[in-house]
Amino acid sequence: MLNTDKGVNKSNFNATGIKCLKYIPGIYSMIVSMDLELKDRPGQLVQALKPLSTFGANIMSVLHHHDQRTPRGAIPVQVVFQLTNGKLNDIIAELEEGGVRIVCVGKKLMYEEVTVILIGHIVHSDMGDTIDQIDSTGFAEVVSLSISMPAINEPSSASLVINAVDMAQLGKALDILRRVALEKDLLVIEPIEKDQLSVKT
């Protein structure tokens, strides 16, 4: 709550979460872990991994438990891979078609995130356009916005959370924001670079 010069008590307009983090195929990279069951026959592992390479997955780890048997007499295999194109359903379909039994699938979205503060006439310089310029890149998006407007004609302040596929793309998104902010006379306050002394709170 902020008191304006005119003595009017105006509450902060808080628009946190007007956009929620949503999964857009091709925007985020994800880490997928899969538990599979293979028949004890030569060539089965290759057959199980082939759909992964077909759909561009980056295999990070394969655990082939030769010495174990499932109650059905199959060999349990765990694979972990990174996927940046959202083709998980295609991989699952192809595996099942090839007769590979999928026991379970776990996935975790991976993305880089940055919080920045903007100060200036944020709303009157078309906030929608500022956000659109980042969202329209296809590799980054504004996922949260909180804005505080103390009084008419006074500069507003906003905190903006931007997500992107990786650090490089996040850097590009920040470049766009810096350029837009310069055009609209907004002050951008960015975080210091992460280092070994940064403590996660």
């Binding site: 500069p155 302040s157 002050l187 403590v199």
Partner: protein, 336 residues
């Protein structure tokens, strides 16, 4: 006992701080085998000269009572040229437009074969390479720890204590006034204008605060770091500077919601397109750079030692005198 004859050029808060430090540290200096004899002190009105050693207590008293140190009309430049001594302590006020009168004083001291210790940022931010060249040409020492971060050792830390390391980047809070204003705004939710007024009343900010709040002072210190530690050849005009005048209490609250504070951070990075900029940045509340009050802080990123962080008082008469005294002692130890 090694005797070094000094002149103190400029007798404001810093000059008087040095006189006080020399009085207080007499025993310590004697035990270190040093006799630091002040043979002349000058201010803008004139000088007092005594080749047997100026009575420092009387000098401080006279300055307080009459507003000047002068017992003769001999001016600073004549002291530097004509009084026989080894080391000039140049502590005149900083001037960022042309570096004068400090620039001329320092150059003249070098030409007369005298070492220089200074706290004066202006000449270094404008004519660093010229000053270093002149000192080198005349085979004298030139030290300026007090120009950056007051009592906080940073130049000597990078060059002596961390010798052998490659310094990759330095970032930090190099202006206590800005830090005070931002810290108070964060704690009390007060406006920039209000806290600035408060800082002026407390003597933390000048009547014309431009030099501090627009980031100029921090930029000058960054230039000195860039030139002396990274071997760059930059001046104040090469620094991209954004001050703190546009920061709102609401922005600080929003930052706080994310577990961050806003600080005026100066940063300089080594490399071909070595960045050098001063701007408000978001700093995690738990990060060592998130110091409050009027404190200064610097984080040095090094190749062997990793990150090394120092924090301390960036201003104040005795604090600045501490940095100057350490430079004087270093010169005494390294000169013959």
């Amino acid at each position: 006992m090694k005797t070094i004859r000094l002149s103190i050029i400029g007798f404001g808060a810093v000059g008087q701080g040095i006189a006080n430090a020399l009085l207080q540290k007499q025993e310590y200096l004697e035990s270190a085998g040093l006799n630091l004899k002040v043979v002349a002190i000058s201010d803008s009105h004139g000088a007092c000269i005594d080749l047997d050693g100026v009575d420092l207590e009387a000098a401080i008293e006279r300055k307080k009572e009459s507003g000047s140190i002068a017992t003769s009309g001999v001016m600073s430049l004549e002291v530097i040229r004509d009084v026989d001594h080894e080391l000039v302590v140049e502590v005149t006020p900083t001037n960022i437009d042309n570096g004068e009168p400090g620039l001329t004083y320092m150059l003249e001291a070098f030409r007369h074969g005298r070492h220089v210790v200074t706290s004066n940022k202006g000449p270094l931010a404008l004519k660093y390479s010229q000053l270093c060249d002149e000192a080198k040409k005349n085979a004298v020492h030139f030290r300026y720890e007090a120009t950056v971060g007051g009592a906080m050792p940073i130049l000597n830390l990078a060059q002596d204590a961390l010798a052998g390391n490659k310094i990759i980047a330095i970032e930090g809070i190099l202006n206590g006034t800005c830090n005070y204003i931002l810290s108070r705004m964060t704690e009390e939710g007060l406006s920039y204008q209000h806290v600035l007024g408060e800082a002026q009343e407390l003597g933390y900010a000048e009547t014309d605060p431009t030099y501090d709040v627009e980031g100029i002072d921090a930029a000058c210190k960054l230039v000195i770091l860039a030139n002396s530690i990274f071997g760059m050849d930059v001046t104040y005009n090469n620094v991209e500077v954004t001050g703190i005048t546009r920061i709102t209490p609401e922005a600080l609250t929003l930052a706080g919601d994310e577990g961050m504070v806003i600080k005026l951070i100066g940063e300089v990075k080594d490399g071909e397109n070595g960045e050098i900029m001063v701007s408000p940045k978001l700093v995690p509340e738990q990060h060592p750079l998130a110091v409050g009050g009027t404190l200064n802080v610097a984080l040095l990123k090094t190749d062997m030692a990793g990150p090394v962080c120092v924090t301390g008082k960036g201003a104040g008469s005795m604090e600045t005198a501490s940095a100057i005294l350490s430079d004087i002692i270093a010169i005494c130890k390294n000169s013959h």
